[in-house]
Amino acid sequence: MTTAIWIVLALLLIGVYLSWTAGRLDRLHARIDAARAALDAQLLRRVSVAQELATAGVFDPAASMVIYQAAHAARLAPEDQREVAESELSQALRVVFAESAQVVAVREAPGGQASADELEAAVRRVPMARRFHNDAVRAARAVRRHRTVRWFRLAGHAPFPLAFEMDDEPPPALVEHTARPDRPGH
């Protein structure tokens, strides 16, 4: 009789543990989804401001073409080529905004101030959002590697989470310039 009680108790405890782990995993997947949505939003924001600037006539024609091409490619890239395309947009932005003179020129163009501010906000937030996303991916992977999770298939059909790897280094002249709002002059 006592043995039966112990077995029931043990099964109950295992059940509670499995349910708890499944809940934890579910929360981690939700966190990845939210982080991925935030990353997508920032990448899209960056692409659209870049494209807007490229067609606004604030750059010289060569710079306009480079930025437009890179932004266009990043916007249309299929999922498996997105990391490369977004990295190329980062590189293009770094080349065009290599000098602070270019930043000043954009800011002085009509309506350029708002666009430059938005681009700056986007290039600052892409690395943030990407770190948060990859941090969530790492946490979920750590749990999914547990034996319990694999044996009892607690992850269900959720795909194994993948980190988003890209070059997200912002153009130094762009973030440097606005980091000093009270600088006299511009």
Partner: protein, 386 residues
């Protein structure tokens, strides 16, 4: 935006994390956000209107010192009520790996949670043992912030994952506009910090002092901070003791005036620093800085460009550098200028914008903060049954 900030340490005890939380909350309120701070404090402590007392902190020995923290059933209930009533868009927890309110909040809430890691403790046995229990709470954090690249490295090493670096903020204008005090000017060296805390480095400075004072006959040392003054000067020759002046604990205003007045600020700290806010304050006030080459200090001083570094715990090197700087007004002016230029990135206007960018990134499209009903064992059991 409705922001809930959790401070792990007692509000009535001065400390770096508490000051940071206070300044951050006030900055965000000035920018028009709704901010509520949950902090350990007695019911009868006078508190700013935005602080909610979470009850009296208890003193527990933790990690080699005594920490005043909140824990236990009543604290958990307090946290849950605060989370429920606050209706926050985002929670910002400070020091989530300290066994206090931050960790409890992580455990008892769900939704967008941002966490700032201030200290970079070496990995302790407690952390290793408690890790399986901590992990489920810590993995609810949607965004981690480290106060320096050094703090980020240790965080990544200990807990894995990644973090963004946002430095501590300073109100640069407050220090830059302070009025210098004539009696603190003229060949003065400044030191601010606990006298009896060896890690703050006063003993190193005291070893270097005889040579500095002999080679620069006009020089004086001004020390602000609490501790035993007699013991501090015990190692000095009698004739030099008069050239060390103790100011005791100073107010924020006097601290700014002191930093504005001195010809050289010395930070001989020997370890345990993850940021170095005092260096930023000194640079804001335009004081040339001479600091030990701790990782965190080197980073705040832009690798030595915005202030001079000396090898940690090397009193001879400190003496040589101080003697040189006191006799080189041109070099001091150069450090002053580079310091004031460099320090702008630590101003609240920049740091606050970065913190808000983190809030916006984690709240975009996410649900608001709510109590986590599954946090209690009974809640989980109930869920299994349905």
């Amino acid at each position: 935006m409705r922001i809930g900030i959790v401070c792990p340490y007692s509000w009535d005890v001065p400390g770096g994390v508490q000051f940071h939380v206070r300044d951050l909350a006030e900055h965000l309120i000035r920018r028009g956000h709704h901010v509520s701070v949950l902090a350990p404090a007695d019911e009868d402590t006078p508190l700013p209107p935005y602080v909610v007392a979470a009850g009296r902190a208890v003193s527990v020995p933790y990690n080699g010192s005594v920490a005043r923290v909140n824990l236990g059933v009543r604290s958990v209930a307090r946290v849950r009520r605060w989370v429920h009533e606050g209706d926050f868009d985002v929670l910002h927890i400070h020091e989530p790996s300290v066994p206090s309110l931050g960790l409890l909040t992580c455990w008892a809430a769900r939704g967008p949670i941002v966490a700032t890691f201030h200290t970079s403790n070496p990995r302790s046995r407690v952390m290793i043992a408690a890790y399986p229990m901590l992990q489920p709470a810590l993995e609810k954090i949607s965004a981690r912030v480290a106060v320096s690249e050094y703090a980020r490295r240790t965080l990544v090493e200990h807990l894995g994952g990644d973090a963004v670096v946002i430095p501590n903020g300073v109100d640069v204008g407050f220090f830059a506009d302070a009025e210098p005090k004539a009696e603190w000017q003229g060949g003065t060296i400044g030191f601010i910090g606990r006298i009896d805390e060896p890690r703050k480095g006063l003993p190193v400075l005291m070893r270097a002092l005889p040579r500095i004072l002999r080679e620069r006959p006009g020089a004086r040392l001004l020390v602000a901070g609490r501790g035993d003054e007699k013991e501090a000067v015990a190692g000095l020759p009698d004739d030099l003791r008069g050239r060390v002046e103790f100011l005791g604990m100073v107010s924020d205003e006097d601290k700014a005036r002191l930093l504005r007045s001195v010809d050289l600020y010395v930070a001989p700290n020997t370890g345990g620093e993850s940021f170095g806010i005092i260096l930023v304050e000194a640079m804001s006030a335009g004081a040339p800085v001479l600091a030990s080459d701790l990782d965190a200090f080197a980073q705040v001083l832009d690798g030595g460009a915005a202030g001079q570094l000396f090898p940690n715990e090397d009193a001879d090197a400190l003496a040589a550098a101080a003697v040189h700087l006191l006799g080189a007004p041109a070099r001091r002016a150069e450090l002053r200028e580079r310091g004031s230029e460099h320090v702008r990135r630590f101003d609240w206007s920049t740091v606050g914008a970065d913190v808000l960018a983190v809030y916006e990134t984690v709240t975009a499209g996410a649900e608001a903060v709510a109590p986590d009903d599954r946090a209690g064992f009974l809640g989980r059991l109930g869920r299994t049954r349905d």
